[in-house]
């Protein structure tokens, strides 16, 4: 029973994460490209429920260190080095599109209009890290999901043909798959990426990445699915259906492929985080999506510079937010694996 609870917990967590990322425009206080030239590398604002006189408020305050170079109130800022702003919920701010479709200006939280609060600090251009993390998730997660879907569909297609027909087709496809498995995965990914144009813009790179990542990994799911198909086609009811004159396509669709359901789900849950990571890695190394498009990879890539890590440690914070995402996926994959193991027994 426990794996059932685990699965539900992981699924709820996943649904929550994906909802937040999908509605990034609403949850992010600012646009991902909005720059605040006065505040490069601003440290994260502290959330406080007590005001200066020590009184408790239901609406939290966020305190932001004053910019070092704001001359008019030097004396004042020496006495009180923090700006304290009241956090407001459901404020109007930068316009965005809900899930990429409907225009809106409503944001989950924010501070009084000309002021800006950065809960995770800002990057070198004064862009809000939290907003960039949320918008970046849209690119990274979408890339992972699409690439995994592509990879698993390729795997189903090739694995089903290979296992169902056998003979020389099987040999050819599986030997070909070995070629893909014999290369270390990241090197293979790089080799395929190297064969494609480097400098192209925006969505083209994104689609290219999805295709590359998806096309490189088909061998493993194909092998697993082939194994299931091999045993499935010998099951009595399949043989019987064949005896009644069912066509190959019908057999595959109605009797054989439904039996691969468990493997497909588990593989998806395993591959999505792996492929999110692949996108992050490629972008991190400068081979993926390019500025100003935010992605988790480009968020991390600024950390490669020593001065960022040595002086602005909070740039590392968004990276830590990645851990729950991966935790949710791996827990789901784990629970799915246990579930289908116990079903087949």
């Amino acid at each position: 029973m426990t794996h059932r609870h685990k699965l539900w917990a992981a699924l709820i967590l996943l649904a929550g994460i994906h909802a937040i990322i999908l509605f990034a425009g609403f949850f992010a206080p600012y646009d991902y490209a909005a720059q605040d030239r006065e505040m490069p590398f601003a440290p994260p604002g502290r959330i406080e429920f007590f005001d200066a006189s020590g009184e408790l408020h239901i609406h939290p305050y966020v305190s932001i260190p004053r910019a070092a170079d704001s001359p008019p109130d030097v004396a004042e800022s020496a006495a009180n080095p923090y700006h304290v702003y009241r956090v407001r919920f459901f404020v109007r701010g930068d316009s965005y599109k809900i899930a990429g479709l409907f225009p809106s200006r409503l944001h989950f939280f924010g501070v009084e209009a000309p002021r800006r609060a950065y809960l995770l600090g800002t990057d070198g251009f004064g862009r809000d890290q939290l907003s960039r993390f949320l918008y970046g998730g849209q690119i990274s997660l979408l890339a992972g999901v699409l690439a995994a879907a592509l990879c698993v569909s390729l795997g189903i297609f090739i694995g089903a043909i290979s296992g169902f027909y056998g003979g020389w087709i099987d040999d050819l496809l599986m030997r070909g798959g070995e070629l893909f498995l014999a290369l270390p995965w990241l090197y293979l990914l790089f080799a395929v990426r190297a064969a494609l144009p480097l400098h192209i813009a925006g969505w083209q790179v994104f689609l290219l990445l999805v295709c590359v990542i998806g096309a490189v990994g088909w061998a493993r799911p194909a092998r697993l699915i082939r194994g299931v198909v091999l045993s499935a086609k010998e099951r009595k009811f399949v043989v019987a259906a064949r005896g009644f004159g069912a066509s190959d396509l019908y057999l595959l669709r109605r009797h054989v492929l439904p039996q691969t359901y468990g493997i497909v789900l588990t593989q998806m849950a395993l591959l999505i985080p792996a492929y999110v990571l692949a996108e992050v890695t490629l972008t991190f190394l400068g081979l993926g999506v390019t500025e100003p498009m935010p992605s988790w990879g480009s968020l991390l890539s600024s950390l490669q510079q020593y001065y960022v890590l040595s002086s602005y440690w909070w740039m590392f914070l968004p990276a830590l937010l990645l851990i729950p995402v991966f935790l949710a996926y791996y827990t789901a994959a784990d629970a799915l694996q246990e579930r289908w193991k116990s079903v087949s027994l």
Partner: protein, 320 residues
């Protein structure tokens, strides 16, 4: 012997197929090293074409492949346009560094994983096992890129370890012993990072392999004979559990090589990883093919070693 022979032939065929595949892949790549030169108005198209034909880039595909294979046999692996030198010697120094790093990391990971895995298997279900299980699954969920960046953060913030590179500046002038110490000091963080990436997988597999064996009747009998617990675990159970672990050693090399690319780039260890990334960005095709080939050679060789170990460890394979 036939077993090893078959394995060798299989590995060779695989490598030839990979060489053809990766070479063909990169030959169809749009754009080449001379794109930047073509954009320069001061260099005529004729000059660019002249240089191209000098390097044999205008020949048909089969001829280029044949030439490349010939230079591969000679240990040259083609010619790097960015470094203006044959690829072979270029790769040799980098490959040595990568092997040093991955070798150390493998050793470290197995030395840590064996006691932990065996201990948790012996303590199955107890508190220590649960804590270790929680720790391994936590480590599994942390993406390796994050782990390496965290190591870099540690190095930069505390200054306990060098933040990248392989030798200190001016390290070349040191004596042999202090040079070894210097390199070892630089090796700590990347090797540790790689070992931690491998550790949870190894511990899990060792634990489950040992648990399977520990339930076997012959061990209960041995225990009944009064053989001490530690001796029972290491001398009686471990050799029986070794089989899947040897195969795991072969598999883990693939993960190790992939992870080493990242750790090398992030902690600027001068191995194959940074070379590969630079070569892709510069469109230095032969270096890319060379590095990819080399990585697959490492992997295939690692699997061969695992096969031979299996052959030595398991009499059943010899009979077959």
């Amino acid at each position: 012997m036939r077993y090893i022979g078959r394995r060798l032939v299989h590995a060779m065929l695989l490598l030839v197929a990979i060489s053809f595949f990766s070479f063909a892949l990169l030959q169809i790549a749009p754009g080449d090293f001379f794109d930047a030169m073509r954009l320069n108005p001061q260099i005529s198209a004729q000059t660019v074409n002249g240089i191209r034909s000098q390097y044999g880039l205008d020949r048909p595909f089969p001829e280029r492949y044949a030439r490349w294979m010939r230079s591969l046999v000679a240990g040259q692996l083609g010619f790097s346009l960015a470094y203006n030198s044959p690829v072979g010697p270029l790769l040799r120094a980098r490959a040595r560094n990568t092997l040093l790093l991955t070798g150390t990391a493998t050793l470290l990971a197995w030395l840590l994983a064996l006691p932990i895995g065996i201990w948790t298997a012996a303590k199955k279900g107890k508190l220590g096992d649960r804590i270790a299980g929680l720790a391994t699954s936590t480590l599994l969920t942390i993406p390796d890129i994050l782990l390496f960046l965290a190591l870099l953060l540690l190095a930069v913030r505390t200054g306990w370890f060098p933040a990248g590179g392989m030798i200190s500046s001016g390290g070349e002038d040191l004596g042999a012993w202090s040079r070894i110490k210097d390199v070892a000091f630089h090796l700590v963080l990347p090797a540790l990072g790689l070992a931690v990436v491998m550790l949870p997988v190894l511990v899990r597999h060792i634990r489950s392999a040992m648990i399977d064996v520990l339930e076997a009747p012959f061990l209960r009998a041995a225990r009944g004979h009064g053989i001490p617990h530690q001796r029972l675990l290491w001398r009686y159970a471990l050799p029986v559990a070794a089989n899947p672990l040897i195969s795991l050693f072969g598999f883990s090399i693939a993960t190790l090589l992939s992870a080493s690319v990242l750790v090398e780039v992030i902690l600027s260890w001068p191995g194959l990883g940074p070379l590969l990334v630079e070569a892709i960005l510069a469109r230095d095709v032969y270096v890319v093919v060379g590095v990819v080939m080399l990585s697959s050679i490492f992997l295939v060789a690692g699997n061969l070693v695992a096969d031979m170990l299996l052959f030595a460890a398991d009499p059943r394979i010899r009979v077959e």
